[in-house]
């Protein structure tokens, strides 16, 4: 019931806040010692930087048996970027959550270490090396995060742009379908390429706009649901103990369903489709508290997915590759389970503690540095390493959910929840696909997999969560305190 209390109460608290702002802030600054949060962050960040440097050092010792200069360039670049973010936070968001930046930094760094390790296995150097490009993308992504933190001083401005966000999101989703711009890579039409196409089909700059679309859509969902939730949650006939939505309120869910199915059919990307739709369902559930939306939505999506698996060859082969991965016919088939099974061999070879960085053979798995980086990490860091990474992701997500629990404005709460959940769902879809919990789809592991679009999008999410968490702590908790 707290949800309904805060809707009408928002104006009151905002005006009340203006009156007490200066006094409360001075008290809070004394009480909370804002530097404490940033000092904790700095301590954790130093840990993260040390772990990253150690990972790259171990990669060199394991794969080459010697120390090369890259251990310094990579580690120093990562450290400088992370510390720059830290300084930005001290100035621009001093109350921000102290765990988000260190977790994102260590995930990003371990990802770079593994990508660098695969470069060594493949003999790639210079700009051909995915590790160098990932490092450059990390810089771009952190710059984007920096801009978000500096420009968006108050997240509520985003609520005003919710419909723009919707159009941007849909435009980003449709961009790969534009002739001359879209690129089909590995069977999925989810990329755009910029610049002249090379002989091997690659372009100087390729980008997956869908990764950014998830942020725009989360902003739109949060903004739309905050305003529309009363009509969505309170009106409608009861049936079988559930309150069904009115037909005219079905519009948005149908639009999103059509969009998700469109991604599935036109861009042949099951993972992205599942990600957007799952995000929407969770946000509408959190906003309205009505399980009927979830059941309705899941019925629609599963129905659509089952139909697609029957009608679309690629979805069907994904399902077969999941259920009968070890069947030799499916294993040998193009688009079959070869990659999945090779990944499983890798993880199994890693066992409990892994082969050690640089000492396994993760390069045997296709796309070991992007889609299958988790299998590579499982092989070399073992089950222990996978558990540690999953715990880091879980901690990251829980920091996002904390905004949902502790925030004062519903838009911020919904946005924080949505952004955190999209990370959780993406991790689940990727790692679940690799470990055969669900069919394999082509998504990237947040912060870790090689790929610029994913990095930029996830660092922007990190920046938004930082901004939201800063607002949560900075706001006087009038409603709660009273």
């Amino acid at each position: 019931m707290s949800a309904t209390n805060q809707g009408p109460g928002a104006t009151v608290s905002e005006s009340g806040q203006r009156n007490t702002n200066t006094i409360t802030d001075t008290i809070r600054i004394r009480l909370r010692e804002p530097a404490r949060l940033r000092n904790l962050e700095l301590l954790l960040l130093v840990f993260a930087i040390i772990i990253n440097a150690a990972a790259i050092l171990l990669v060199q010792l394991g794969a080459l048996g010697e120390v090369r200069k890259e251990v310094f360039t990579y580690s120093a670049a990562l450290a400088v970027l992370a510390l720059a973010m830290h300084v930005t936070l001290r100035i621009a968001a001093s109350q921000a959550d102290p765990f988000i930046l260190p977790i994102a930094t260590v995930l990003n760094g371990i990802g770079i270490a593994m990508i660098y390790r695969l470069d060594l296995a493949g003999g790639r150097e210079g700009w051909a090396a995915s590790g160098i490009r990932q490092m450059a993308w990390t810089a771009i992504a952190m710059l984007a995060a920096f801009i978000v933190l500096v420009v968006i001083r108050n997240h509520r401005v985003l609520q005003r742009y919710r419909y723009i966000a919707m159009f941007v999101g849909i435009a980003l989703l449709l961009l790969p379908l534009v002739p001359g711009l879209g690129r089909e890579i590995n069977g999925s039409q989810v990329w755009i390429g910029i610049g002249p196409q090379r002989a091997d089909g690659s372009v100087p700059l390729s980008f997956q706009p869908g990764e950014l679309a998830k942020i725009a859509l989360a902003v739109f969902f949060a903004g739309y649901l905050v305003t529309a939730r009363d009509s969505l949650s309170l009106v409608g006939k009861k049936f079988l103990g559930m309150r069904l939505p009115r037909v005219r309120d079905l519009g948005p869910i149908l639009i999103i369903w059509v969009a998700a199915m469109g991604v599935l059919v036109l861009q042949r990307d099951l993972g992205t489709s599942l990600l957007y739709f799952g995000l929407f369902l969770v946000m509408i559930y959190v906003a309205t508290g009505r399980i009927s939306w979830v059941i309705l939505g899941m019925t629609l999506f599963i129905g659509g997915a089952v139909a697609a698996s029957q009608l679309l060859g690629y979805v069907n082969s994904r399902f077969n590759g999941w259920l009968d991965a070890f069947d030799n016919a499916i294993y040998e088939q193009i688009g079959g389970s070869y990659q999945l099974v090779q990944g499983l061999f890798g993880i199994a070879d890693g066992g409990l503690v892994g082969t050690g960085l640089g000492q396994g053979s993760p390069d045997m798995v296709p796309f070991a540095e992007s889609d299958f980086i988790i299998a590579s990490l499982g092989e070399e860091l073992g089950l222990a390493g996978l558990f540690a990474l999953l715990c880091l992701f879980l901690l990251f997500v829980s920091r996002g959910f904390r905004i949902g629990f502790a925030g004062q404005d519903d838009f911020g709460r919904l946005l924080g929840t949505g952004l955190a959940f999209v990370i959780a769902l993406q991790v689940f879809i990727v790692i679940g696909g690799i470990t055969r919990v669900i069919p394999l789809t082509g998504l990237t592991t947040p912060f870790m997999a090689a790929g610029g679009s994913s990095l930029v999008a996830n660092w922007i999410i990190a920046a938004l969560l930082l901004r939201l968490s800063d607002t949560v702590r900075n706001q006087p908790r009038l409603v709660v305190d009273a």
Binding site: A348, S361, F387, F405
Partner: protein, 478 residues
């Protein structure tokens, strides 16, 4: 909103628990299944990336893994490839192994159960896994002498220590270079393998133990004589009619004694003389009198029709059931369908040399873990006692006479009593399978040997006996 958030948090927690569970299942519970999957090239790489243990002869490596700079990390190299090819066999990346490399692969690669704790240790301490080393019983002097003595002949020499069963020489010619198959380029391996496979000399066959079986000819008379004397039915003085030719029962075929033919020229001939001059007709009569059951029982006691591994599998020699008395008579002097390996023939001599006790032949002296602890110590196993000590003594005397004053004269060594028996098995064509088997010194045997020369010209005494003599001389003059 908080209630919904709690539920969503719970769902996220369940999602992550599912991931923790699924990765645990793969990395812990399915590991064994996934590792043995034939499509798992990691297992393959791992088995080659471990430093494979060496195969040692008298402390020196005849096969060892040398570090190279590729994904397999080690290259198998053979220091004296052709000389030891019949013993070591070959080791390939993915086209199979043979010889000791194949039979003791688990030990050499370090995956044998006996090495489990060592492997665990090296995993924990971060050392690279290593395989065990295999010390062979081969005597490099005997091996080299056998190799040289066989010369350009196609055939085989096997020498054993009759008191222990240790195989001290095992040569098969034509030989091959196992280095050709150890290279890391699969295409090259397959090409080289096919070249060796299609070579008319068939170098990949180990003629000593696993080639095509040979007709033993007169060396089989040792088994017949052993059966005759050990069964108590006959003595060296037992007399047999001595016609120049003998018509086989229910047959128009006749048999005759080889070479000079008259077998001493008297009307009757005793068993001792018949063996010394290697006469066929008395042995045909002897075999017919002993009967098939007795003869095949003694053959089995000497190792015929029995599985054997040294450690590579030995093709069992055969004494098949005969279908007529005529066939039994032919089999009694090593014709008809009797087929043997050179090792089996050496085992007959070795049993006689060792007072009737047949020691289990083996190539393996000991197996040592990388930390030099002994995994398998030297073993001497009595395989069987086919004949009594008295029979063995009698047969030794007959075989010494055979060399000193009979058909095996070319094995004579001055100052040493050599016990021996030659054989010349007739094949369909003009060429014969030439044999010699024997041991020396007769009173305290150090070596029992069998020599076979395929498709040779002449007789066992002219071709095979001198080869055996050189091997015996080399061992005795050490």
């Amino acid at each position: 909103m908080n209630k919904e958030l709690k539920r969503v948090s719970a769902i996220v927690l369940i999602m992550f628990l599912a991931l923790l569970a699924s990765s645990t299942v793969i990395a812990v519970f399915q590991t064994d299944n996934l590792r043995v999957d034939s499509r798992n090239t990691r297992t393959l790489y791992a088995s080659y990336s471990a430093e494979r243990g060496p195969i040692l002869v008298d402390g020196g490596a005849v096969a060892e893994s040398t570090p190279v700079d590729d994904e397999y990390k080690f290259l198998r190299t053979y220091s004296n490839p052709d000389l030891y090819s019949a013993v070591t066999g070959y080791f390939t990346l993915n086209q199979g192994n043979s010889g000791v490399e194949g039979a003791l692969n688990d030990y050499l690669s370090g995956t044998a159960n006996a090495q489990f704790i060592d492997q665990l240790n090296s995993t924990i301490t971060g050392q690279n896994p290593k395989g065990a080393s295999v010390e062979l019983t081969i005597d490099p002097v005997a091996q080299q002498a056998a190799w040289d003595a066989l010369g350009d002949n196609a055939g085989s020499v096997v020498a054993v220590d009759p008191k222990t069963g240790a195989i001290i020489a095992m040569v098969s010619k034509p030989a091959f270079d196992p280095n050709l198959l150890a290279v890391h380029d699969t295409t090259t391996v397959i090409d080289n393998y096919n070249t060796l496979l299609n070579d008319p000399g068939r170098p990949l066959l180990n003629r000593a133990i696993a080639g095509d079986l040979y007709a033993p000819g007169s060396v089989f008379k040792l088994v017949t004589a052993a059966a005759a004397i050990d069964s108590g039915q006959f003595s060296p003085e037992s007399q047999f009619p001595n016609p120049p030719t003998l018509q086989l029962p229910q047959s128009s075929n006749t048999i005759s004694n080889a070479a000079d033919g008259n077998c001493g020229g008297a009307e009757t001939v005793d068993l001792a003389t018949a063996l010394r001059l290697s006469c066929n007709i008395p042995f045909a009569q002897l075999g017919a009198t002993l009967g098939e059951d007795t003869l095949s029982q003694y053959a089995e006691d000497f190792g015929f029709d029995q599985p054997l591994a040294v450690p590579q599998d030995v093709t069992p020699s055969v004494f098949p059931a005969t279908e007529s008395e005529a066939e039994l008579m032919l089999a009694s002097f090593g014709q008809a369908s009797v087929r043997v390996t050179p090792l089996q023939v050496a085992m007959v001599s070795a049993a006689i040399a060792n007072g009737g006790r047949l020691m289990e032949p083996t190539l393996v002296e000991s197996i040592r873990a990388p930390n030099l602890t002994v995994i398998q110590p030297p073993q001497e196993v009595v395989l069987n006692t086919p004949i009594s000590e008295a029979t063995a003594t009698t047969l030794t005397q007959l075989m010494v006479a055979n060399v000193n004053n009979g058909a095996a004269s070319n094995a004579r060594i001055s100052g040493v009593d050599v016990a021996g028996k030659t054989g010349t098995a007739e094949n369909d064509g003009a060429e014969n399978t030439l044999w010699f088997t024997g041991f020396a010194p007769a009173e305290d045997p150090k070596i029992a040997v069998a020599v076979v020369v395929e498709n040779g010209q002449g007789f066992g005494n002219s071709v095979a006996a001198p080869i055996a003599r050189k091997v015996i001389e080399a061992v005795l003059s050490k």
